[in-house]
Amino acid sequence: MSAAAAVFRRELLLAARRPAEWAQPLVFYAIVALLFPLGIEAHDPALKVFAPAVVWVGALLAALLGVERIFRGDLDDGTLEQLLLADAPAPLLVAAKLAAHWLITALPLVVAAPVLGIALGLEPLAVKVLTLSLLLGTPTLMFTGGFAAALTVGAQRAGILLPILVLPLMTPAVIFGGGAVRAAAAGLPFDAPLYFLGALTALTVTLLPFAAAGALRNAIE
């Protein structure tokens, strides 16, 4: 357990070296949200229809783009070997690392979601559901992203393989998350998709670290 705490603290220390780090997903998010409306006329009613999708896809992309490097540096400098040789279950260490990443890069997104929702013209209830759905769903994004990063870190020119692996895995989260917000906006019951989202997160957070640790062991051989 203390080994996992050490890994967790190290990630936070690295993030603290760059105080701007936690703000970056937010900036990125804002840019993505800005880019979409650029494609259409201002005040198009379509904007509102798309709002849940824009927010969720933005979260997905932020998770996707940040997750790539999670294990790359550790593989390059040899830390990964040491982690897998450590006197602690590797899946636990992987989970600690991903949890720290979630805290640094995804939690700010959740906190900022209300602002974005209001800016995109969602009603108060829908904004609440949006925030809740992101809180429930971003761990899934982070852990699937981490799993895919583990799979590709060993491949010499993994190239763009990562997003392709990850997108199908992440799609369910986007469907349920976006679905809940849309339902809330339309005044329909929205608890079922939220339950699904919660179940998905529980599943991925407990199981994927094992798969990721296996993939990492494979990467260093």
């Binding site: 203390s2 080994a3 400098d77 040899g78 006197d87 602690a88």
Partner: protein, 198 residues
Amino acid sequence: MSLPSLQVRNLAVARGDRNVVEALDFSVAAGEILHIRGRNGAGKTSLLEVLCGLRQPAAGSLEGQPDAEHRHWLGHKNALNPTLSPDENLRFWCALGGHADVDVGPALLRVGLKAQRHRPCGSLSTGQRRRAALARLLALPRPWWFLDEPLAGLDHAGIELLAELLDAHGRSGGAALVTSHQPLPAAVAGVRSLELRA
């Protein structure tokens, strides 16, 4: 401390589609330093990785393999995060090994990194980084050392330092498996040599 010795019988190590090491038999006991030699590509690194548990053997048996809390692995790579300082890197490794409260100052002093202690590792020279990696062996005492070319990048004084460390380690009942193309300094007592032929 008294360790069970590491027993290797009829070991084979595979890389790609062929065995690079075959039918290897030897044992290492407490107090011994095993110097693994062989020409480029002979399989020294691969063998060491198998012995310390990073890689599965292709055949043969391994007995008395030390578990995680009893071994140190120092590979070609130093396992130093370039953003963190030697001090921070070292404290992380101690915490990972379950000793979050170790004072890493003496170890860094010993390897000659007093002035570099708080600089990011990315700004250290090759030899300085190697020294920071060596400090791990000092900060967290463990009986089994697996060292892959520890002399690489070290200057004369660095090699002498390593010799002292190895010697003291052996005398206090530890064991070490060391690959190196240069001979180990004569100051190290209890060295046995294993030549890999491929």
